[in-house]
């Protein structure tokens, strides 16, 4: 696991120069959410809060927000108050730099830090029902807000690493993320339209999954598709890539909880 990871960090600049063909970033005004490529039915499902199945998890998340947890006996709401005001825009600016971790953390990690440090509760597992529900509830408070990655110089090296990973060929198919999502978006891959890959609506309700899933689950999906070795949930490599993807989608509107086929 750490072998290929370490290789990617040191070898990325060399490989970049040698292997990436076009690798041009999509012009800001040409960017589109995968929402635009969905069928009318799927769009209607996402648009109506009483037919969007992601909203079922949001209801669970709302209950978790108000539920007391851990040795502190405090709920999220006891410190943060109503999520509508306090969590507005929060998902739109994650991953953000965490001074104690010395690196960027994503929304899920931020929630778990809060649980452990302030609620003195056990952290939620990645992709657990609770984590998905609470992160969906928090992220939904940013719905309609533009994605706004923090302008923080401390994030720069991690952003660069995320970009390098995005453009690095990997796996048995020897593909980079950019070869599909920068160079060939809008074309077909096995009957599906290749999306630009903007993380506008996570956690998403994916019909194929019959459930909610995080951005890291989606990234694993792509890596398995490239026959590359995927990282463990919460791995720094994933968070760096999330950081780059959010930067790449800067200014686009948050759609959480989005529905995708």
């Amino acid at each position: 696991m750490s072998g290929p990871a370490r290789l990617s960090i040191f070898a990325a600049p060399l490989l970049l120069a040698a292997l990436v063909s076009a690798g041009a970033e999509i012009a800001l005004n040409e960017r589109r959410s995968a929402y635009d490529d969905m069928s009318r039915d799927n769009k209607a499902m996402q648009d109506d809060d009483t037919s969007n199945p992601g909203m079922l998890a949001v209801l669970d998340g709302e209950a978790l927000w108000a539920a007391k947890a851990g040795a502190s006996g405090k709920s999220c709401a006891d410190c943060h108050g109503g999520a509508k005001a306090s969590m507005k825009g929060v998902a739109a600016r994650h991953p953000s730099f965490d001074a104690s971790a010395g690196r960027p953390v994503n929304l899920e990690q931020r929630i778990n830090t809060s649980r452990v440090q302030h609620q003195q509760a056990s952290p939620f597992a990645y992709e657990s029902k609770e984590m998905l529900a609470l992160s969906a509830y928090v992220a939904m408070q940013s719905r309609g807000e533009p994605i706004a990655p923090p302008d923080d110089p401390r994030l720069k090296p991690f952003l660069d690493r995320g970009r390098a990973q995005f453009n690095q060929r990997q796996g048995q198919l020897n593909l980079s993320c950019g070869q599909c999502h920068d160079d060939n978006w809008g074309k077909s891959l096995a009957g599906n339209t290749v999306p630009q890959g903007h993380p506008t609506g996570y956690p998403i309700y994916r019909l194929e999954w019959q459930g909610l899933g995080s951005l890291q689950r989606r990234l694993r999906n792509c890596m398995i598709g490239m026959r590359a070795e995927s990282y463990a949930y919460g791995a720094p490599e994933y968070v760096d890539m999330e950081l780059y993807l959010m930067w790449r989608a800067r200014g686009m509107k948050v759609e959480t909880p989005a529905v995708r086929p």
Partner: protein, 106 residues
């Protein structure tokens, strides 16, 4: 407890055809799958959905293993009188969930 989302118009004209949309959280485990150890995962589905309008049954559906998780059921009825439209989902392992919505017919 399962989460439900109901969409019934709050107001309608008498005789108007109204759309009713219902969504419920449920795994709808088919009973045909096996876990990593090869053990069969027992079936756990909603088997029946009933809608009543002021106590009178107006819609019923039988659900089967091929129906996806979190079933979404939508149908139409005629708004006849003000009152309550109630929903009940029942299923395997004693599953039962109720929800209702008020409608004013003028």
């Amino acid at each position: 407890m399962a989460r439900t989302l109901i969409n019934v118009p709050q107001k309608a004209k008498r005789g108007e055809v109204i759309a009713i949309k219902t969504l419920i959280s449920h795994v709808m485990e088919t009973g045909f799958r096996h876990d990593n150890m090869g053990k069969a995962i027992p079936r756990d589905i909603i088997t029946s959905f009933v809608c009543t309008y002021n106590g009178e049954e107006i819609f019923r559906a039988a659900l089967h293993p091929a129906i996806a998780a979190n079933p979404f059921i939508t149908f139409h009825t005629v708004a006849t009188e003000s009152g309550t439209i109630a929903f009940r989902w029942t299923g395997d392992n004693g599953f039962s969930q109720d929800a209702s919505a008020k409608i004013t017919v003028g």
